[in-house]
Amino acid sequence: MSNWHKVCRLDEIPLRGSRVLPHEAGSIAVFRAADDHVFALRDACPHKGGPLSQGIVHGHRVTCPMHGWNVELDSGEACAPDHGCARRYATRVEGGEVWLEL
């Protein structure tokens, strides 16, 4: 059975910004990059658990507001030289609606 869920309209997420989706397994940060690509990561930096949703989005990366780690939005991997990974969720955008695989 498919686990795809509709979470919001694309235009409800600010460009180069994010929204937070509360989730039983921990909040999910849903990002919208400048090129309208949408990504979803567990809203916890692999460093010390800072809320990635609150970071500055640039390219396909976000900078954690806590200690400045950069995290790749498509994989959840921390950028070198840091190591760590935030769980990622598959996303798709259809007809202006954002879907997540939960």
Binding site: K6, V7, Q54
Partner: protein
């Protein structure tokens, strides 16, 4: 598509540094082949002297081992000499190999200058250049007694010191009258010579070598001079200078003139061929020090990577002698001349000599002997061309004294870094100890402060340990380290423009949005990064108020959410209390809010107001609504508070009404964004209970009016504010304060506090534009008032629904059948 082919001739520090920089920018662009004459990977040539002296091993100085080449897919031909370049067929020929190239990088370094005297080819006569020479010297020291080093430059002295430490009887022969004449004046050189003599070295100055004579064994046996004298020598080290190694380039028909002539993009006369390092002559100079080579490598890599940004414009260099226990530093023009002045400190018995050469209130050269702790600081002043007029009296006594530091929290002395234990904590913010930093520097081959910050986090938070980290870098990598030049440093990796250039472009090109700026300034990334976006956004809105677009997504979360994010992701709320004044009604509302939202911590701040900590983000608009007080901007690069004492309204000592003066100032500045946070204080008498001496603008009431102090700082480094001027009326307090802050807003770099801005540009210049120039002062004041016209309280706006998406979480998700799943949330 087949990759292009890059061939690098030269496996030394410059060539491999260029390859490393290239791999960072474009890892997959080229198939890379490297030729090296020595049968090793790349090593830190500068540290051969400590190896010779027995303080380090060869393993310690390896920068890139053979695994590195393998892991990066680089073909290394170590120990193969390139004999020919065929520029028509684009082939590099070495012995039986012919390797084709699309781009060729020459980094052939230099060759030692060998005196053309009879006997120069005898066994036992060597130069000092590479690992093989070092090993020859170590072997000679084990079996022979007398060593003669010809040339008393940096390299010669280091060789002599090493040989002496290995037990040889060493004489240093020099053509000129004093040693290290290219780095030292005679007074400094004499002191250096005396302390080297105390270590057992002998010197023969003003001596010209005529010939080297053989011993019966066929090995070199003696050095004979023009004046007929002769001294025994079982080992002769020629250290009389280096020559750029241009033979290969010349044979290929490339234009050479004391080096392979290159442009600002490090291209030779054949645009497919680049040259970096000691072999290259840029604007007539071939550099023999490592820092310029790294700068060249960076620019060269950028062009090889086809980014095409960046020009190499030459380097200012400094030198340091690596003889343990002897500290020598020199930079710039240390001999002086017409129109220059000297400040000299000469303590012969104490073994300290310092000479600073000054021209028109700028430091242009420095020689330090015995105490070189401030070498880095002088070099920084020199490179940045800082106005030292204001600190001239104290300049000689160093950074800590001249700038009144409480010493980097006691981290001033350079010798401190070397003496520290590996377990000693260096960075108190991130808990990084010295051993961790040294290990990272060695393992990853780090050379810059930024590299160390990235790999260890040391000095990446508050920055107060920066000086210490720089010292550790300097003592670990030796002369390869040079302090970053802040004035020319690009804003971040997204651009080659520095803060000044970006500011100017925003103004002159009338850039009104981030996208316009990225486009006009050719930003490398499509939408910048977390470093440049907030800076650019500030430059736009401060330069073009009411016209430029403010982009919330380019602000740090605190300024976007108008509250301070805390370690657990909750926020803190600090409502504004004008001048630190409040009412029972406000206090009651604060108490009610604290109870209603179960605020875990209520704290009185240092800025005379109340902090509610631990508020959930989605509760923020409700909290603000219930408080009914304006934002305290305790979260922004903005006006924070105006702290006041009670003043003559109540105080029996007060001479002026400081509370109402503070309220007026705070109301004038409400909503002001600035390069960094701005704090003010107003005291009603010289007892100064509001602590105006450590504020960005401090106002102290006296009987006859008000004294204004500027550029104080109570934070990371306590800096006492400097007296700015005295004024008579309250209106003048407003006008002068506003003018100073507006100039700061218009000209300081993003994240530069007033104290650092004033130190950089000099207070005299600021004073002449504000205190001495009424017209300019009034214009600045008006510009600030215009910028702040119509400022609305961000909290009030948000309780009305502005930026609602910022605070509201998304509703529960809906599955493909249209069912909402609240249980998932």
């Amino acid at each position: 598509m087949e990759k292009q082919k890059l061939v690098v001739v030269g496996n030394g520090m410059a060539g491999i540094r260029a390859v490393e920089e290239l791999l960072k920018l474009a890892p997959d662009l080229y198939d890379i082949t490297v030729f090296g004459a020595e049968p090793h990977g790349n090593y830190n040539r500068i540290l051969l002297s400590p190896v010779l002296a027995g303080e380090m091993t060869l393993a310690d100085i390896v920068l890139n081992d053979l695994d590195w080449y393998r892991n990066n897919g680089i073909t290394l031909h170590a120990g193969k000499k390139v004999t020919k370049i065929d520029r028509v067929k684009r082939l590099v020929i070495a012995d039986d190999l012919a390797v084709p190239y699309d781009r060729l990088l020459l980094a052939t370094g230099s060759t030692p200058f060998i005196l053309p005297v009879p006997g120069k080819d005898l066994p036992g006569v060597i130069a000092y250049r590479d690992i093989a020479d070092t090993e020859t010297m170590i072997a000679a020291a084990a079996n022979h007694k007398h060593a003669v080093v010809i040339g008393a430059g940096l390299l010669g002295l280091e060789a002599a010191n090493g040989l002496r430490l290995r037990g040889m009887d060493v004489t240093v022969v020099h053509l000129l009258d004093w040693i290290m004449e290219r780095q030292l004046d005679q007074a400094g050189a004499d002191m250096l010579q005396a302390s080297l003599e105390a270590k057992g070295l002998k010197f023969l100055l003003g001596k010209q070598t005529e010939m080297l004579t053989a011993a019966p064994s066929g090995r070199v046996g003696a050095v004979r001079f023009k004046d007929g004298a002769e001294i025994p020598a079982d080992l002769v080290v020629m250290a009389a200078g280096i020559r750029p190694n241009t033979a290969l380039a010349e044979s290929a028909g490339l234009y050479c003139n004391r080096g392979i002539v290159v442009t600002d993009t490090l291209q030779t006369y054949d645009p497919k061929i680049y040259a970096v390092g000691e072999c290259a002559a840029h604007r007539g100079t071939a550099y023999g020090l490592v820092a310029p080579l790294f700068e060249q490598a960076k620019v060269c890599a950028n062009h090889l990577a086809q980014h095409g940004i960046g020009r190499y414009q030459g380097s200012v260099t400094s030198t340091k002698l690596k003889v343990t226990g002897i500290d020598v530093f020199s930079a710039g023009n240390f001999t002086g001349g017409d129109g220059t002045e000297d400040i000299v400190l000469h303590d012969r018995n104490g073994g300290i000599y310092k000479r600073l050469v000054i021209e028109k209130d700028k430091l242009i050269g420095a020689v330090l002997y015995g105490d070189t702790a401030d070498g880095g600081w002088y070099f920084q002043l020199l490179k940045e061309g800082r106005d030292i007029g204001a600190i001239r009296d104290h300049l000689m006594f160093g950074d800590a004294f001249a700038n009144n530091h409480v010493g980097d929290v006691g981290h001033a002395g350079a010798s401190q870094a070397a003496a520290m234990a590996d377990t000693a904590e260096v960075c108190g913010c991130n808990g990084v100890c010295k051993g961790t930093i040294v290990k990272a520097i060695r393992e990853h081959g780090l050379f810059t402060l930024d590299d160390v910050r990235k790999h260890t986090k040391a000095s990446s938070s508050c920055g107060s340990c920066t000086g210490l980290v720089e010292q550790i870098l300097a003592s670990t990598v030796g002369g390869a380290y040079q302090a970053a030049d802040r004035t020319t440093k690009p804003v971040c990796g997204c651009t080659d423009f520095n803060h000044n250039e970006v500011r100017q472009a925003v103004r002159s090109m009338k850039l009104l949005s981030l996208d316009a700026a990225f486009k006009a300034l050719d930003w490398r990334t499509p939408d910048g990064c977390a470093t440049c976006r907030p800076a650019l956004n500030y430059y736009l809105i401060s330069t073009w108020p009411h016209e430029a677009q403010d982009d919330p997504q380019s602000r740090f979360i605190n300024e976007r959410a108008h509250a301070n994010i805390q370690k657990d992701g909750t926020y803190s709320v600090v409502p504004r209390m004008w001048g630190g004044l409040t009412t029972p009604d406000e206090l009651r509302r604060i108490a009610d809010v604290a109870e209603k939202y179960k605020v875990p911590t209520v704290k009185v701040t240092g800025g005379q107001r109340i902090d509610l900590l631990g508020i959930k983000k989605e509760d923020l608009p409700g909290v603000w609504q219930d408080l009914g007080m304006p934002s305290g901007h305790a979260y922004g690069k903005s006006i924070r508070t105006v702290k006041t004492c009670v003043g003559s309204e109540h105080c029996r000592f007060g001479t002026q009404k400081s509370m109402s003066m503070g309220v007026e100032l705070e109301k004038m500045l409400f909503g002001m964004w600035s390069p960094h946070k701005v704090k003010l204080a107003v005291s009603g008498c010289p007892r100064n209970c509001a602590e105006a001496g450590i504020k960005d603008v401090g106002v102290i009431g006296v009987d006859s009016g008000w004294e204004l102090y500027v550029a104080g700082n109570g934070g990371i480094k306590t800096e006492v504010a400097e007296f700015f001027c005295k004024v008579g009326t309250r209106e003048e307090v407003l006008e002068y304060s506003a003018a100073f802050l507006q100039l700061y807003r218009e000209e300081a770099w993003y994240l530069e506090r007033t104290v650092h801005w004033v130190q950089r540009v000099g207070l005299d210049g600021i004073r002449s534009r504000i205190v001495d120039d009424a017209e300019q002062r009034k214009a600045l004041h008006q510009r600030l008032l215009y910028a702040l016209q119509g400022t609305v309280d961000p909290w009030a706006e948000r309780t009305q629904g502005v930026a609602r998406h910022e605070f509201a979480p998304l509703p529960a998700p809906i599955d493909i059948n249209g069912e909402r799943h609240v249980e998932l949330a």
